[in-house]
Every structure is written in C-alpha cells, then in structure tokens.
C-alpha cells in the first residue's frame, strides 16, 4: 500500500479524554501540503489547529462538528484519494471484527450517550465488557466529571476571591459545549439588536381555533411559519461571515430553542419551513421536542439552520436578547405575553402583545435592514394571510 499518514486527534489539555472537532479547514478529498491546517479542535479551555504531517489528498472519516477521542483517527492523508480511503477502510475492518461486529448497547444506554454527546466506543474502551448498559454510561460520565472536577480544583482563582467562594464542581460538559458554541459565534460578529411589539389578537384566534379542533398549535409555531415566509426577502439574515467570506444558506431551515426540564437547551430544526403549512410546522416542532425530551437526538440533526427563534414566556419578561449560534448571524427573541391598552374607535381595548427582539450581526446588515425585517414579520403575525 502506498504511504498514507493517519490524521490523529491531538491532546489539547492533559485532563481531556475528548475534544470537539469544530470544523474542517480543507474540504473532503482536498489537496494539502505539509504544515497546512486541516481542522480545528476545541476543549472547554482551549482550541488548537491540527496540521498535516505530509502533503497529499485528505480523506475525512468524521463529520464536523463532532466530539472525538484523543488519539482517534479522524482521517488520512495519502498520495491519492483512493490510497487514503483504502487505508481508512483497512483500519476500520479489524476494529469491527475485534469488537465482534459493533459495540452493543441497550436503547437506554444509547439514548443517554447521545444525550451527553459521548461515543459508545469510548464507553466500551473504559473497561465495559459485553452489552453497554445505561449504568455503564453513567459510570463513564461520572469518571469524566471527577477528572474535570480535579482540573477545576487545581485551577487558580485570585486569592482575594477564593475566600468568598467554594468549589461546587466542574461546568457540565453539555453546558460547556453550548457556551463554546456561543463564544465562537460572538467572536465573529458585531452584535446589535432591534425590537418591535407585536399584537397577538390574530395569533390567538388561530391558536384557539386549532386547539378547539384538537390540534396543538402555539405562538412559536406561528412565528416559525411567519419567519420562514419573510426571511427569503432578507437574505443577509440567512447569511454569515467567516474569516472575510460571506456564506448564505440554501434552504429556509429555521431552528427554535427547546428547553428540557433539567435546563438543557437544544435547537431542533424545521427543515424547509417556507414550504410547510402551519399544521406541518406544528407537527415537526412537537415531534422534534418529544424526541429531544426522550433523548437520542444526534448532533447532526440539530445542524444547518439559517436562523433561530428563542421564546422565553416566563413571568413578565419584556425583552429577550438572544445570542446567535455559530454559523448564523441572527436570532429572534420572543418575550412573555403582556396586555396592552389601546384606543380603538374611541373605546379602550385590551390587547395581548409580545416584544420581538432581533439580535443580528451589524457587519452584515444595519439597523434599518433589521427593523424592516421585524416590520414585515409583525405584519405577517398581526394580519396573517387567509
């Protein structure tokens, strides 16, 4: 076999067993030279670039973003695409045979591992024999948390602060991953925001009609529907800038924030929302939320949205300034509902309303552009097309 060099995940921090493969810098089957950056990896504390040890054709065996083990082969560089691919296939085959086919796990174990973003192979390598059970995944996670706690304990904070605080453990891996995503995002954009109040009289009528008919439709479903109709006229809000290059999403895939009872934030995606009717959008939103609550949603299923909606219907929240996810330039925050008093034909009328807050990248669009989007969106919601 011609000489092929595997691409191995480097150790970024001493105490980390895994890192996040953030992105590939070179496309699949792309040509690289020795020393070229081929991908970026990241832990909660640091990020690093992985460089090519040799020149040749890169064949990727992992799709970014994904959590990968230290030392894991995520691709190979060979003199030809075929040579590198053959190498990876040959490496994969013995592993499968040695593991007697595949790693076996119970449904609960798979769901738990998926929920935490850990690979079942990593759990198996931690010393589990036979079928992996949910308890094995829990033990593996506890081990990870203990190692992280040790790291946190070793971390130094200013002595003046230390006397006022106590160590309560490491930041949970899931929270750290969400924070890393938002940190990467905010590093790349100039965040600005604009608000608009939106009357809900018409929206409430539509929701009441649906509920009376036994169909679950909510304000978020209506906003996803309205947003998907308006967004195509505001392409800059479906775009993002990265390292001086502008990218635009091909499809109107709209995400919404779903919060689990234990406080985890997920962003399920309504694919091609502009082609779906309200019932279709409601069906997808409900189905995706149920799947998240059950556990077992894969990372790649939550990727690819051009825009996100975050509804925080808590108490008297009047304004929600949300942060766009990495790879997006805008996000819509939706406040709690509140009554407003208006004078209509000389009569005082009480109407429910919410405040819509668009957080956007000012390097891509200005306040007028953002406010125009909100104006069209509120118009859609206040006077929906029949």
């Amino acid at each position: 076999m011609e000489q092929v060099t595997p691409l191995v995940v480097p150790q970024v921090n001493v105490n980390d067993d895994t890192v996040l493969l953030v992105r590939w810098s070179v496309e699949q089957y792309g040509q690289v030279a020795a020393g070229d950056t081929v991908c970026e990896v990241e832990t909660s504390k640091a990020s690093a670039e992985v460089t090519a040890d040799r020149g040749g054709v890169l064949v990727q065996s992992a799709a970014a973003p994904v959590r990968v083990r230290i030392g894991e082969e995520i691709g190979a560089i060979g003199p030809t695409r075929e040579a590198a691919a053959a190498y990876l296939q040959a490496r994969a085959a013995p592993k499968t045979a040695a593991a007697d086919g595949t790693v076996k796990a119970t449904a609960k174990a798979m769901a738990r591992a998926s929920q935490e973003g850990v690979s079942l192979e990593a759990v198996a390598r931690s010393g589990v024999h036979g079928t992996i059970k949910e308890s094995d995944v829990e033990k593996f996670l506890a081990g990870q948390a203990a190692r992280a706690q040790t790291t946190a304990g070793q971390a130094r904070i200013p002595p003046g602060l230390a006397k006022y605080v106590e160590l309560t453990g490491a930041v949970p891996a899931f929270d750290a991953a969400v924070a890393a995503n938002l940190r990467r995002s905010t590093d790349h954009l100039i965040l600005a925001s604009v608000d608009a109040d939106c009357r809900l009289t018409a929206a409430h009528g539509i929701i009441r009609q649906a509920l009376a008919g036994g169909r679950m439709v909510s304000l978020v479903h209506l906003i996803v529907a309205a947003t998907s109709r308006v967004l195509p006229r505001f392409p800059r809000l479906m775009s993002f800038a990265y390292e001086g290059v502008l990218y635009r999403y091909r499809a109107v895939d709209v995400a919404f924030v779903a919060r689990t009872p234990d406080g985890r934030l997920y962003t399920p995606v309504v694919r091609s929302a502009d082609r779906a009717d309200l019932d279709g959008i409601a069906r997808v939103c409900q189905a995706e939320t149920l799947r998240i609550m059950r556990g077992g949603v894969k990372v790649e299923e939550l990727e690819g949205a051009c825009f996100t909606i975050s509804h925080v219907p808590v108490g008297r929240t009047t304004r929600v300034v949300a942060l766009p996810s990495f790879g997006q330039s805008a996000i819509l925050g939706v406040s709690a509902e509140r009554p407003s008093i208006e004078l209509v034909d000389g009569a005082v009328v009480e109407r429910p309303l919410v405040t819509l807050t668009l957080s956007y990248d000012h390097s891509l669009c200005d306040g007028v552009y953002a406010a125009s989007f909100l104006a069209e969106l509120t118009s859609h919601l206040e006077r929906p097309a029949p």
Partner: protein, 81 residues
C-alpha cells in the same frame, strides 16, 4: 375506554397541575383549548407521561394531532392493537 380515561385524567392532573374539580370535568370531548396550561410544552410533557403510564410509544409525528382527550384515547387504543 373508562380505564384509559381514568389514566389520562391522572396524567393530565400530574402534568397540568389541575384541581380535582378540573380533572373530573375531563372527558373524551375535552380539547386543549378547554384545559388551563395545556400548551405546546405541556403537551410534550403530557405525551411522555402518557407513554410512561400506559407503556406505549407515540409516533412523534402524530402528537400535534393529539390535543384532545378523544384523540389520545384513540391513539392509545391503536397502540395496543
């Protein structure tokens, strides 16, 4: 049917924090519009509670159409056949 309705009432009372009076009024004709707190998030939690209580798994794509007690009863009966 009556066993299902009793179980559904129990699940709804748990998830939606209904009073005994509100729970007793629940019948096959009850829709989400008539029950306080039966919104989209509570709906998903209700589906999970029903799955746990009845040992069934709903088709995720169908749950948006289960915002009435009658539809829930029908879905539970379908899942048993």
């Amino acid at each position: 049917m009556s066993t299902s309705l009793t179980g559904i009432r129990r699940c709804m009372q748990t998830v939606l924090h209904l009073s005994d009076e509100e729970t007793a009024r629940i019948g096959p004709e009850t829709t989400a519009m008539l029950v306080p707190g039966w919104n989209s998030l509570a709906h998903v939690q209700l589906m999970l509670e029903l799955e746990r209580a009845f040992g069934v798994t709903f088709d995720a794509d169908e749950i948006a159409a289960l915002a009435s007690v009658g539809a829930i009863i029908a879905a539970l009966e379908r899942s048993r056949t």
